[in-house]
């Protein structure tokens, strides 16, 4: 059983944290990852920094910029994954990347290196199902789950097409827009989770805009199997630039607080 399958079989719902590799620096990034894991992240998404992250809002875009300024390369990202894998042997790790990084390296090599480093899944944010045939054989060859995205605007027909290709878990985008914290989540979340739930047995995790314990609780109540928090954590790295101790404390506090929104559910 894969680490992702095992996690969702054991725990429901799960708490997924997001960090940009190399933010605020290559070495410091390892500390961020371990702090997040120690604070209670069940699955870690590690983003590969990219020059033009169009799906991301300003907070995460600035993290990409910081990581690139620190000189972070895909080699460094795989190095980070390898170290995190050593630190947390059972914790599922998902690489979050824009497609040109994969294309430039060659999909076969990218997935091979991801697997060798200890990643369990890869989410290519700008590779919709129409184009994903380009990487499918390589993900399969190297035993990597391809995490698929479904948006509120995805038609039922496309949901079916996406779910046929998906493995690991499904990333449901909660709202129409880019990543970033919002005051409130859209009211139709339960409808979205329910509509996708009818079409798949894969675990469903909800992300985009989640920044408060009540958001986490709402996602869990909507029937999702996981909640993904990105910008609300990434922002703390920016706010505590130059104060590593303060940054780690803030990350721990945020994760512990947000996790309180998670009430264990029986997996249905």
């Amino acid at each position: 059983m894969s680490r992702i399958d095992d996690l969702f079989a054991r725990k429901n719902p799960v708490f997924i944290g997001f960090t940009v590799a190399g933010d605020p620096g290559i070495e410091a990034s390892f500390g961020v990852a371990t702090t997040m894991i120690d604070a209670g992240v069940d699955l870690l998404e590690i983003a590969v920094p990219y020059s033009d992250p169009v799906a991301d809002g300003p907070v995460i875009e600035r993290a990409h910029v910081r990581a690139l300024r620190a000189g972070t390369t895909p080699d460094d990202v795989f190095g980070l994954v390898r170290r995190v894998r050593g630190y947390a042997p059972a914790l599922p790790l998902v690489l979050f990347t824009y497609y040109n990084i994969v294309y430039r390296r060659g999909a076969d090599r990218f997935f091979a290196e991801a697997a060798a480093a200890g990643a369990d899944g890869v989410l290519i944010v700008d590779l919709p199902v129409e184009e994903s045939g380009e990487v499918a054989p390589y993900a399969a060859r190297h035993g990597i789950d391809r995490i698929a995205l479904i948006a509120p605007t995805t038609s039922p027909e496309r949901q079916h097409a996406i779910l046929r290709e998906a493995s690991g878990f499904v990333y449901l985008i909660s709202l129409e827009g880019v990543t970033g914290e919002r005051d409130r989540l859209p009211p139709n979340l339960t409808g979205l989770v329910g509509a996708v739930r009818e079409k798949t047995d894969l675990p469903l995790a909800v992300g985009f805009g989640i920044s408060r314990p009540e958001h986490v609780a709402a996602v869990a109540a909507a029937g999702a199997n996981g909640v993904i928090v990105g910008s609300a954590l990434v922002r703390l790295i920016e706010e505590h630039a130059g104060d590593e101790t303060g940054m780690h404390e803030a990350l721990v506090t945020a994760i512990v607080t947000l996790r309180r929104g998670l009430v264990p559910q029986s997996r249905t």
């Binding site: 990219y50 020059s51 033009d52 992250p53 169009v54 799906a55 809002g57 300003p58 875009e61 600035r62 910029v65 690139l68 390369t73 895909p74 497609y99 040109n100 990084i101 294309y103 430039r104 390296r105 944010v125 700008d126 590779l127 919709p128 129409e130 184009e131 995205l149 479904i150 948006a151 605007t153 995805t154 038609s155 496309r158 996406i162 985008i173 129409e176 827009g177 880019v178």
Partner: protein, 390 residues
């Protein structure tokens, strides 16, 4: 060929959140192309409002000097001063037919932003234009023009704070406001169906030029030249000639020279990659990060190029050359003096290539240069480069 592909290039490399909008756009575009009411209204705007057709001007002085027959396709005389309005009127009208209530656009030098502001004013649609913060300072006059035309200009402070970041910001806005907003992309770049839509709306340039040169000369030209940034004016004039026995030359921004690394020539000096929704040629590093670009012409200062150009390069149907800042400046001055026409610095790249290539042409050879825009916008910059001495 797969829909939305030009050879292997093009495609739809966008986040899932944008797919429904692209699908809607594709469906609407297929519908309006068949709608006689759409064609009738677009024709009206192009002819009665924008001033089409534009002249094909025979350049007597330049032809004498260069020893061949030089024509300019005068997109500089289109309302707004550049070819950009062909596309913005087409897409703004399409947005109306789609029931959209708001236009957004990106702009580099400001020409596409101005053209979108004009189309929005004419068609009564509010316009917001994303513009890199650096560009808002470099092109303050165009910011004022857009505001005068009723558009709101949003400075973009992320990334390199130039055109590519303005596109990123516009895409982010679009993702968040799909239902009411049309993203009026200004060049033949981005995900399908944008490269196709922009090419179709710009093809009026080549259709007219082809007819005009046949009327005038009784035959097709030997060579057609156009500058290439994203590539919309070039694809517009090339496309109707693609199946003819006519040499087509696209001229990229050589900046300080290809070997300097400071240029905007993605076809001459780049490699294949995925950028802003399409597979095409791209200026990138070994890891796939987009590189900073440079050109004296802000409209050519972009790390990628439309996917159809990538295909035309590989097939050899179009030859792509690079012209340096210095050559473009020399052409800017020369056309101004010899013909009394001040070209946009972008278009001056095409003129510069014509000056360079003329030595290889015969007296009867016909050369058509797409003069994609007028140079008034660049006069202040060029004056400062020369210490105010023309």
């Amino acid at each position: 060929m797969k829909a939305g592909r030009y050879g292997v290039y093009g495609g739809q490399y966008v986040p899932e959140t944008l797919m429904s909008a692209l699908i809607e756009l594709e469906e609407t575009y297929a519908r309006v192309r068949e709608d006689p009411e759409f064609s009738r209204r677009l024709d009206w705007y192009l002819h009665e409002y924008a001033g089409r057709e534009t002249p094909l001007t025979y350049c007597e002085n330049l032809s004498r000097d260069l020893g061949c027959r030089v024509y300019l396709k005068r997109e500089d005389l289109l309302h707004g001063g550049a070819h950009k309005l062909n596309n913005t009127l087409g897409q703004a009208l399409m947005a109306k037919f789609m029931g959209k209530r708001r236009l957004i656009a990106e702009t580099g030098a400001g020409q596409h932003g101005v053209a979108t502001a004009i189309a929005g004013a004419a068609l009564d649609l509010p316009v917001e234009v994303y513009m890199g913060e650096v560009d808002t300072r470099r092109q303050a006059l165009n910011v004022f023009r857009m505001e005068l035309l009723g558009a709101r200009v949003v400075p973009v402070a992320s990334g390199t704070r130039t055109l590519k970041d303005a596109i990123n910001a516009a895409m982010r806005d679009w993702v968040a406001n799909l239902r009411e907003t049309h993203y009026l992309l200004g060049s033949c770049v981005g995900p399908h169906p944008f490269p196709r839509i922009v090419r179709d709306f710009q093809s009026v340039i080549g259709e007219e030029a082809r007819r005009q040169v046949l009327e005038r000369e009784g035959r097709l030209p030997d060579t057609v030249v156009a500058c290439v940034g994203g590539g919309s004016n070039a694809i517009g004039i090339f496309y109707p000639f693609v199946n003819d026995d006519v040499a087509l030359v696209g001229v990229e921004a050589g900046g300080e020279g290809l070997e300097s690394g400071r240029h905007g020539a993605s076809l001459c000096g780049g490699s294949v990659g995925v950028f802003q929704g399409a597979l095409s040629y791209l200026l990138q590093d070994d890891d796939g990060q987009a590189l900073e670009t440079h050109s004296i012409a802000a409209g050519l200062d972009h790390p990628s190029v439309g996917p159809e150009h990538a295909m035309l390069k590989d097939s050899g149907r179009v030859r792509y050359e690079a012209v340096t800042d210095a050559e473009a400046l020399a052409a800017f001055r020369r056309l101004s003096r010899t013909e009394g026409i001040i070209p946009a610095l972008e278009s001056a790249h095409a003129v510069a290539y014509a000056l360079r290539a003329a030595g290889d042409l015969d007296r009867d050879d016909i050369l058509v240069v797409n003069l994609s825009g007028r140079g008034d916008k660049d006069v202040a910059d060029v004056a400062s480069l020369h210490g105010g001495v023309a």
